[in-house]
Amino acid sequence: MMWKDKYKIGVELIDEQHEELFRRVSEFTKIIRSEEDWNSRIDKVKETMDFMKDYVIDHFNEEEAYQAKINYPEIEIHKKAHASFKEGVDNYIKIFEEEGFNEDRIQEFGGKLMTWLIMHVGNMDQKIGEYVKSKGGQI
């Protein structure tokens, strides 16, 4: 299981979305690491990637809207981190469009995506939770 309870920030909506994001990335990782023939998995890989790309964007937008609502002081830094996360994903999508869905490249992307997600949620997003707590709980 990729998700750990320590990643919770204490804001229900965001925690639910993070858990869903981890579930999707876990599922994606399982598909790309399965022993089955690559061609039989490729449609599932594409479908999961499409969903994930949309979900990441929706989640980042909602998280930024929440940060604006609570006047989160580090919102601009956080927006930059989201932009660079999205850029990382987009760069790989461009590679896949140009080179096709090559298994080695997808594995490489999967390893990075997992690490980015854990680092972003486990580190940067925790600061939102700390800010909310410093303001006395749910804002």
Partner: protein, 154 residues
């Protein structure tokens, strides 16, 4: 080489390991080595440019690499494939980035060149004939090294 360099990489490695794999690495004995090389199984090379110029090498044994990626993904790993090496490279990249943020507090402004991953022994570059500093880090899942070769470029 200055103590700030080593401390920045040690602190960054400690923080990232605690956060990502729930492991608290402990410092082993620092030593100077003739040039930057390592015979551990998975090596990640980061180039540093800016006020400091040089190379940082992260070196991990195979079993430790597999155990780390297993902790991250929750999945069994039996070989260092593209998925595992890419995750390892990214972790080293994050440690390097955080170390440079710490070094910026000592007024060194630097950037990282994207990581290069070498599976198998890392052979020294013929041009890197300077002495490097090897920092061993001890963890319950194995011992890894950070080798630092940095020169002031101001």
């Amino acid at each position: 080489m200055k103590v700030e360099y080593v401390n920045s990489f040690y602190k960054a490695a400690k923080d990232v390991f605690q956060l990502m794999v729930d492991i608290d690495p402990q410092r082993g004995d620092l030593k100077f080595i003739e040039n930057i090389s390592n015979d551990k199984d998975a090596n990640v090379e980061l180039g540093v440019i800016g006020d400091l110029k040089g190379t940082i090498l992260f070196s991990f044994p195979k079993n430790m690499t597999l155990e780390m990626v297993k902790i991250l993904s929750g999945m069994e790993m039996d070989k260092i494939d593209n998925f595992a090496s890419s995750a390892l490279g990214e972790m080293a990249n994050i440690i390097g980035g955080n170390a440079l943020t710490l070094l910026a507090q000592h007024h060194y402004t630097c950037d990282i060149v994207p990581p290069q991953i070498f599976i198998g022994e890392y052979k020294p570059h013929p041009i890197d004939s300077d002495k490097a500093l090897l920092l061993p880090l001890l963890t319950p899942i194995g011992e890894f090294d950070i080798t630092i070769l940095l020169k002031e470029n101001k």
